[in-house]
Symmetry: C2
Subunit: 245 residues, 2 copies
């Protein structure tokens, strides 16, 4: 059986906060004693907040390309400038939609930049992705003794609605390679690589909710974590292999 336990009672996270401490206290408060097979899913938002990845839009001077894309997408040109600063490529710009390849490789709307639920009262601010989510996951893994996945919400081509993906992972095989395994009939498996960290990130949002609930982490218990450890960076399809580049 798999169990997914929301880590409730985590208050507003602020720049400079020690996230490992905060998560440790939350596990205690929820009466969870971590055991083998447990892992922790932490939402991007509190990682970015602890890292102080806020940008005040008043400080952003949009350039020509940002203004051009802002006209097309009908978005704030300062936000578009941040997207350009965070990205290696713009994949799609149409009204209300700006999809970019973040310099970490993840393809996301607005390069993963958030404007909701980032704390009120400080003017117009945006929240960038963590600087190095795999590195932060490693750090949390070392501090907490649990595999860690850092999740973010994720829209998709062809399908409505968001799910979640992993942008950071440590202590587990973010991508499980099953090439060469046989199915029950002795035929080579067609499904040969499993996006385990994306699956775990998505499962966790059943407990954390998407959006307003303010539950920024969950413990997942009972997962099959077999296979060599791999970071979330391995979930990014190399550009030259991309099916829809």
């Amino acid at each position: 059986m798999i169990e997914i336990v929301p880590l409730t009672g985590i208050g507003e996270v602020r720049p400079g906060d020690d996230l490992a401490d905060i998560l440790h206290v939350a596990l205690d408060r929820c009466g969870i004693e971590p055991r083998v097979g447990d892992l922790l899913v932490v939402t991007q938002k509190i990682v970015s907040k602890a890292e102080g990845r806020f940008v005040s839009l008043a400080d952003v001077e949009p350039g020509e390309e940002a203004r051009r894309l802002a006209d097309i997408t009908r978005k704030d040109a300062r936000l578009v400038q941040l997207v350009l600063d965070e990205s290696s490529a713009i994949l799609r710009a149409v009204p209300h939609v700006l999809i970019a390849r973040h310099r970490l490789g993840h393809v996301m709307a607005n390069a993963g930049i958030d404007r909701s639920n980032i704390g009120a009262g400080e003017g117009d601010r945006a929240l960038l992705l963590p600087v190095d989510p795999d590195g932060t996951a490693s750090h949390l893994h070392a501090r907490l003794g649990l595999p860690v996945v850092i999740s973010d919400s994720f829209g998709r081509p062809w399908r409505m609605g968001v799910v979640a993906v992993a942008i950071g992972a440590a202590g587990l095989p973010a991508l499980q390679d099953r090439r060469g395994e046989l199915d029950r009939d002795g035929r080579t498996l067609e499904v040969t690589q499993v996006a385990l960290a994306d699956i775990v990130a998505t499962a966790a949002c059943l407990a954390t909710g998407e959006g307003a609930e303010g539950i920024p982490a969950a413990l997942v218990r009972g997962c099959p974590l077999t296979g060599p450890e791999r970071p979330a960076a391995d979930l990014v399809r190399p550009v030259h292999e991309d099916l829809f580049a």
Copy 2:
């Protein structure tokens, strides 16, 4: 807390089997008494098997377009003919990759046609998607008294590895619409539609496994299923709205 319980002990499902009966027996055997907030995730494979959606490749005569695409993709031309028969459009054909828009709307490799784990000893066979997965989910929902999601594994552009999606759903909001809700700071939510049935399908594969394990269903307990009932068809982004058409 969310719990995901694999329904173990389901044997090989055969054409004409009563899937509601099989699932009912499996719930009993696993000691599960369904309660409000439970839902059942059933993998596409046993739905297709119960519906007898097998095709013997020996009976397929590939046409000219199938032979052309088979050359490009290095796939069996008879399989490619089945993909064409099942699809409304081919989106991508490169070596080893054939991505199609299934006539149900879902964009999938090989139009969702399986060749692994479909039972040995009957020559080369393929297994098509269920005829009407939302309809089958409705039927199972009525018979079992539980919301039902029919899942299938799903590769993605830009990301490595498979996750799962819902191709059928009944008794729950496959797509949860949160437009107009406010975040904790009073700002309109940026994430406004949640692909709940896809999230549930993906979470369930932590219990069922992807590929060889042969656990074809799982019970998910404790999900937030609020909102009007909507089928999995609503998860398909209309072609004219598609970001990467």
